[in-house]
Symmetry: D2
Subunit: 356 residues, 4 copies
């Protein structure tokens, strides 16, 4: 079968591979909608995960089941499914500890285009199908579905980790698709005022639709200062870090109240030279005593998560298709969509490739 792959760091291309094999609890899926992710760009062009050779890319997909293993009970060939970007092995110790995304080691639930071939193939493999897949609900578009599996799940996790009290004030740093999802998530978690920090007009527009009440741009000066000023010096109850370089936590801690959460959903995929550390500001952290907590996590996967997020779309709580700015048709358009993600033109939030 054909797949679009990372050939080595910095290089991509079409390759031929064997169709993946289906274990007793697994499924083989044929994609019907795919989306490239910024982390694909990190993986290929920044070598964020280290070197990989001829590994099929992609981890955002909706598809139709082509084959199921002998023990799979909830699905059959022909079912169209949401495929979470993160597919934990649910029978591991990390799950019993409450951290399924960290199955088998740090970020071990992230398998696609990391430990195994991704979803940009004619077929792809799903481990523990009964635990990881969810039916694409009747009436839900594939564009909506493919935005759920990573963007919404990651962005919403940022809002969940921010422990937002009803009516609390929140800042979201970065308004790419994950940041926009975090804004929608903050509204869903009951935020009152929401500051969105970003500049791209296309994103600003969606940010407002998703619930942002104030748009803050670096062009008008230090963004933390602007937010402190807008809140009368108080700062915000929670910050969701959804973008930015290695220094972004300096801003986050500066604008956060003493007594707040800083929820990171930024992928620090690029080293910063010799020290390769991420700095926290000592003073704005209150010398380690200001009750400003730094919370992290990896996109939650699994069937229940997918079903619940799908319900939010079904019942009109959020419309993820607002983030889909570019739609391609046909399997061979994956390359174009990925390069679009890499180049990030001004009018882009997220491209989707429809296959059928």
């Amino acid at each position: 079968m054909k797949g679009y792959a990372m050939l080595k760091i910095g290089e991509t291309g079409w390759i031929e591979k064997d169709r993946p094999k289906c274990g007793p609890r697994d499924a083989i899926v044929r994609p019907t909608a795919l989306a490239p992710c910024t982390s694909d760009v990190h993986t290929v062009w920044e070598g964020a995960l280290g070197d990989r050779h001829n590994m099929i890319l992609g981890h955002e997909a909706v598809g139709i089941i082509d084959e199921v293993g002998s023990e799979v009970q909830d699905f059959k060939p022909g079912d169209e499914v949401l495929v979470p970007a993160i597919t934990p092995d649910w029978d591991t110790e990390a799950c019993q500890r409450g951290f399924p995304s960290q199955t088998g080691g740090a970020c071990g639930g992230w398998k696609y285009s990391n430990f195994k071939d991704g979803v940009f193939g004619e077929f792809f493999h799903v481990n523990m199908a009964d635990n990881n897949l969810a039916i694409l609900p009747e009436g839900m578009s594939r564009e909506a579905g493919v935005m759920i599996v990573d963007m919404l799940s990651t962005g919403f996790m940022g809002a969940e980790n921010a422990a937002i009290e009803l009516g609390a004030t929140v800042a979201v740093l970065g308004i790419g698709a994950v940041g926009l999802s975090a804004i929608a998530g903050a509204r869903l978690e009951g935020a009152g005022r929401i500051f969105a920090v970003g500049t791209r007009p296309i994103s600003v527009e969606v940010a407002k639709k998703y619930g942002a009440t104030d748009i803050v741009s670096y062009k008008n000066g230090d963004t933390a200062e602007q937010i402190l000023e807008a809140t009368g010096g108080a700062g915000v109850d929670a910050v969701i870090v959804a973008g930015g370089g290695p220094e972004i936590l300096l801003d986050a801690f500066k604008m956060a109240k003493a007594g707040s959460k800083i929820a990171n959903i930024n992928y620090f995929g690029k080293g910063q030279g010799d020290k390769d550390t991420v700095p926290i500001p000592r003073i704005d952290w209150g010398f380690g005593m200001a009750d400003k907590d730094l919370i992290t996590g990896l996109c939650p996967g699994g069937k229940t998560r997918m079903e619940r997020l799908a319900d939010l779309v079904t019942y009109g709580r959020v419309d993820p298709t607002l983030m889909v700015t570019h739609t391609f048709k046909g399997f061979d358009k994956i390359e174009e969509a990925l390069f679009l993600m890499k180049e990030k033109p001004r009018d882009l939030i997220k491209p989707v490739v429809l296959l059928e």
Copy 2:
């Protein structure tokens, strides 16, 4: 000064009382908007709090500050303020334990028309003004404000105590003003599907606007059965009990999943005869082992709560005025509004009396 009072159990009327005295941290407020509450009805006609003589009624008010004590720093005469129904003494042990509404004993934060004269007077007293009052935000109507101080705060607490995961399925039992607020709160906490159990058309309409996706009526059979059937036998992740008689928990536990929260915001103000207990169903509780937790609380008060809820209104997250079905003008209309609350005509959700 004049006030509308409970004369004794079962009897109300206008009385004359001295203007309340202002301690150093207190304020005296002149109401500008008032609302009667179902619990005023419980207090008078069911004797829920025991006997009271010549106690001015009411605990839902917006007003203008007339006088402040010598130590009050944040307010001055002329400020228009939200007055929370619950006004804790913030310097008590219960606050340090994290339960301000239980200050000085069970439900001790509920002072108005319970331990002291309520707000249905020409003036009323506010303890610890700096801690309890919040400015009525510019642009907010008095009708909206007076719905915040008890209805939203109580209903939202139900949703908070229900520990709603994003996309979870929730049932709200009862669609009076508190139940409707719980529906709005469930949506603000990220619920997906929301069952509203109730029948009054005026309430059903608002329930849908606030986020209810399914309306369940007892007229179509056992409500728990209906919800179990609608969820394929699974039941719901959370139940908010916002109305009903002493047997209502039987329904709640029946429709709740093993692994769920039952958040009570119903005021069990009326005894049920000899035993005077509230029954939990032994089997549907899983013999005490089904991870169905019964959570309770009393309406949160205080300045921060009021400010945050006000922000939710200001930033368009919820419109509490949808619940105001009847508006009266003039102090002398309090009696009519209270009797309306007692009689509950079909077209009533909540009456408000505007004074200026």
Copy 3:
């Protein structure tokens, strides 16, 4: 093979059955230590689970693995293991929701002597061996091990659900083995003062060793009154209900502070006649508003739980063998041990049967 079984409600005896079959992820275990549980008594003589015919009893065991399925990776025949009383199917929806003990429906994680044969056989079956079993640590006695799998796990869950703040005051109602484990758990969770309510001298002695600071007996009057008096009227921060009849929650709510948790680990295995409900006291519950939460659950199972509890024993945090008052040797002593549990002589806390 031979097994000691419930023949029907009210009757037990030895039966012959086929050795259980081992699925690919399962194990077959030969017991080396067994203990009967009060719930075995409920099951047989009160028909708590409904009728069962020729079902082998027992759910507390340590044993040696005799056979493992083809997919089992962490265990091999000859390994001696802790077998949790509750053995969830870890690949079910309830686990993803965070309630593994409720797998497949209310209390569905409880399989032994409920949905399948229990551990009182020459061999017994373990589902999902890699997820449910844990190695009996070197140096740990079988008596200690068999006390971990249900008694400690259930009692400790009571303490966990009680949300005990460091230094908080706790009451434990009932000082059978589960209540004693709850006392030890409350101490492990950081309780200061611990009231133990019970009278049996053998239990009182262990209660003190486990951390009880005050012993309260019904012989000296109403136990709730005694605890209220001992706390200057304040009551306790948490109550763990570990015994008592259907009316026990009346006591629990009476002695609990406004702002407290009531954690139930009592098995309400016996109906109370027509209504078959468990009553909550309306007034002591603050009419449903006193922030007294009723939390429940079913004994947590699984490998991680077993390993962590084993660590507590290994590192000397708790000595569960203090509860073992009677030791029998030989498989045929199961009957005697069970009847001892049924009769509860004054010098009994818990009997153990050692098989090798």
Copy 4:
């Protein structure tokens, strides 16, 4: 009156000051036991709080009430009291948000020897006496009492923030008095295995008594490597950072499991040059996605906290006097005790000065 003060950065001495004035809710206290703290050393010799002139030092005290304000109800002259190091204004917004130690801004609950004169005077001032003081329980030694007010409260907070599950494995970095208190706290929160990282023999001995099961020394190599090796590569469920320089978080994140808490109670009182940041290791943080959360806080104060910690001592859950290695008698010995703290001889954990 006389007091021992910071004269300016790097210089201390005895000064004369007016006796503090007592507001209506305040108390004036005469110390009976005092202890210097490492943070006094930071304040004076590292200028951690910035310059201060003629500010009386000290924030750890037990004392006898000399005067109370007109509104104080719970105390009278002659009462001997525990004085928490942190004395929030309980009527501020931060308290309603749940962060009393951050009252009036970051770390604003820390008043003694920060915003006002400390406790090393003949008399000192206590704000909101009814909310902040607690009676020294009958039978409790002053040495025990003065260890509660900061050391236990801070160390225990570290254990609380570490969210320790029963039987979890914990590492405590640093075994000064705060680290030792964190070890005791981890045991009180139910930790199984506890790694203590440190080398001073006097501290190692107390660490073991407080519950440490493994002592790790940098002299045997990289401490994180040692802990990883001792746990079979798994790492620990929680790390409490109770000492170390600016690079200490590198160790903490390295030894923490994916899915863990890192609770900081280290006072990063000293800058690290130009950048003045505290580094997190990018890779060991899982690029920001490994569910390793960094939690912070400032020593909890207030009456309820003091009473609960006192109960833990009263009921024998912890003996804080094991940390008192040096005892001085007489007010004039404060200087010697402070310099001892500065020099940290090998046999020192904590000095106490008894005044009566």
